[in-house]
Amino acid sequence: EPEVTQTPSHQVTQMGQEVILRCVPISNHLYFYWYRQILGQKVEFLVSFYNNEISEKSEIFDDQFSVERPDGSNFTLKIRSTKLEDSAMYFCASSAVDPFYGYTFGSGTRLTVV
């Protein structure tokens, strides 16, 4: 069964450093998403991406965050200057032509900011 692949599975970074989280969505999917889950809290929407541009973003997704689809397969989330409160599990997801058929999530990247 097709999978969404995320790397790395765990990243530790110093506060103030830039991090890039990587995702390879399912190849024929057209919609891409990032969500995050702070330990013990709800899964929160960050951003959706379609047709090479952001289609929707949450209040969490401020100027410190950016997304990119640098080639035909990767989808990245960049955090420019990490804060302690950015520590969370970050999930990438993708959906097919019609997003109403449900998303496929990756297994996540656990980001720890120290």
């Binding site: 919609y31 998403y33 969500y35 709800k42 899964v43 929160e44 929407f45 959706s48 379609y50 289609s55 929707e56 949450s58 599990m89 999930f91 997801a93 019609d98 997003p99 109403f100 058929y101 449900g102 998303y103 496929t104 999530f105 990756g106 297994s107 996540g108 656990r110």
Partner: protein, 111 residues
């Protein structure tokens, strides 16, 4: 606003019993989705039910949607120890761009 709030927050049952989890929401939805998450792992899509549907089945899973009450339920029949996980409902907005997750129900199935 709170969307996709589940209850109970935690549920412990014996293997073979049925587990019912409920989800409420406040504003209109296009669809409601249920996901499963094993501890520290990713989210696995279980079922999507559209706003014009009332019930859907998938194996041992049954989901109902009552748009008049703005609520949904997930029933797992004949539960197994392997069903132990957290279960989340997520509201799909009309644009289909984002999901709003609830806090989840932690299900423990004792062998």
């Amino acid at each position: 606003s709170q969307q996709g709030e589940e209850d109970p927050q935690a549920l412990s049952i014996q293997e073979g019993e049925n587990a019912t989890m409920n989800c409420s929401y406040k504003t209109s939805i296009n669809n409601l989705q249920w996901y499963r998450q094993n501890s520290g792992r990713g989210l696995v899509h279980l079922i999507l039910i559209r706003s014009n549907e009332r019930e859907k089945h998938s194996g041992r899973l049954r989901v109902t949607l009552d748009t008049s009450k703005k609520s949904s339920s997930l029933l797992i029949t004949a539960s197994r120890a392997a069903d132990t996980a957290s279960y989340f409902c997520a509201k799909g907005n009309n644009a289909g761009n984002m999901l709003t997750f609830g806090g989840g129900t932690r299900l423990m199935v004792k062998p």
